[in-house]
C-alpha cells in the first residue's frame, strides 16, 4: 500500500486522540459521582431532596 506510513499515522493519532478524550470524560464523570456520593454520605443533600439522617 502506497504511503502506508501516512495512513497508519493518521489513523493511529485519531484513535489515540479519541481514546484519551473518552477516558478523560469517563474519569471526570466518575470523580464527580464519587464526590457527590461522599457529600450525600455526610448528610449534605440538595434542598429538593431534603436533609439526610
Amino acid at each position: 500500500m502506497a504511503h502506508a506510513l501516512f495512513i497508519a499515522a493518521a489513523y493511529g493519532i485519531a484513535a489515540l486522540g479519541l481514546i484519551v478524550l473518552t477516558l478523560y470524560l469517563i474519569a471526570d464523570n466518575r470523580a464527580q459521582r464519587r464526590a457527590l456520593a461522599e457529600l450525600e454520605a455526610r448528610g449534605v443533600r440538595r434542598r429538593s431532596e431534603g436533609r439526610g439522617a
Binding site: 493519532i13 485519531a14 469517563i26 464526590a35 443533600r45
Partner: protein, 243 residues
C-alpha cells in the same frame, strides 16, 4: 416527554441516562461498519490509498464545525433565556469540538504531505480551521480564567457568537479564494462529485463519528451537571460548618 421538559437538569439526567448507552452502542456499530467499508473501498484513481485518510479527516472537519454551531446555539440560550442547561451544553462541547478540530488538522497534514508535498500551507481553508481551533481553546481558557461561573458563561457566549462568523469562512474559503485545499465534493448545490464507492463509506463513517460526538457530549453534560451540584453542596457544607 416534551422537548422543553429536557431543559430541566434533573429530567435531562434521567433521560440521558437511558439514551446514552444506546447512543454509545450506535457509535460503536457505526464506526465499526464505516471503517470496515473504508478499508474495503477502492483506491482513488489519482490519490491512491491515501484517500483512506478522507474517511476520518472529513468527519473530523464536519464535526469540528458542528460542535461550534452547537455552541453558538447554546450561547443564544445563555444570553437570551439565561438557561443553566444551555450553559452546561456550551461548556461541555468545547473540549470535544477542540479535539475533533485538532484531529482534523493533524490528519489533514498527514494527507497533505504525500499529496501536496507539504504538511501545511497558509491557505484560507487550513488557516480558517486553525482559527476555529484557537477559538475553541480561547473559550476553554476564558471559562478557566473567570471565577464567577455566571460571568464566565456569559463572556464565553459573547465570544462564541463573535467567532461564529468563522464558520461560513471555513465552509466557503475554498470557493472565495484560491486554495491548495480542494473545493467541496459532498455538500454542493449540484450534488456530490465523489464516486458512490467512496461516498457511501464516508457517509457511514460520518454517521458513526457523529454518534460518538453526541455520546461524548451527553456524557460531558451529565458530568458538568454533577460538578455544579457538588460545588453547591460543598459550599453549603462549608457554610454550615462555620455557622
Amino acid at each position: 416527554m416534551a422537548l422543553i421538559d429536557l431543559a430541566n437538569p434533573t429530567r435531562f439526567l434521567a433521560w440521558s441516562g437511558r439514551v446514552l448507552p444506546w447512543l454509545a452502542g450506535t457509535a460503536a456499530l457505526g464506526l465499526a461498519a464505516g471503517l470496515a467499508l473504508a478499508f474495503l473501498a477502492p483506491a482513488d484513481y489519482q490519490q491512491g490509498d491515501t484517500v483512506k485518510i478522507m474517511y476520518i479527516h472529513v468527519p473530523f472537519a464536519w464535526l469540528g464545525m458542528f460542535g461550534y454551531a452547537m455552541m453558538a446555539a447554546s450561547a443564544l440560550g445563555i444570553l437570551v433565556w439565561r438557561h443553566p442547561l444551555a450553559d452546561v451544553a456550551h461548556k461541555a462541547a468545547a473540549p470535544i469540538g477542540a479535539t475533533f478540530t485538532f484531529l482534523c488538522l493533524v490528519t489533514g497534514a498527514l494527507w497533505g504531505r504525500p499529496m501536496w508535498g507539504t504538511y501545511w500551507v497558509w491557505d484560507a481553508r487550513l488557516t480558517s480551521v486553525l482559527v476555529l481551533l484557537l477559538l475553541y481553546l480561547g473559550l476553554i481558557a476564558l471559562r478557566a480564567a473567570v471565577d464567577d461561573p455566571g460571568r464566565a458563561g456569559r463572556a464565553a457566549a459573547v465570544l462564541t457568537l463573535v467567532g461564529v462568523v468563522n464558520l461560513p469562512i471555513v465552509k466557503f474559503s475554498v470557493d472565495w479564494w484560491n486554495t491548495l485545499h480542494q473545493p467541496a465534493s459532498v455538500f454542493r448545490m449540484d450534488g456530490p462529485t465523489i464516486a458512490p464507492s467512496l461516498l457511501w463509506p464516508l457517509l457511514v463513517c460520518a454517521f458513526g463519528f457523529t454518534a460518538l460526538f453526541l455520546a461524548l457530549h451527553m456524557l460531558a453534560m451529565r458530568t458538568e451537571i454533577l460538578r455544579r451540584r457538588v460545588e453547591v453542596l460543598e459550599a453549603r457544607a462549608a457554610a454550615e460548618a462555620t455557622a
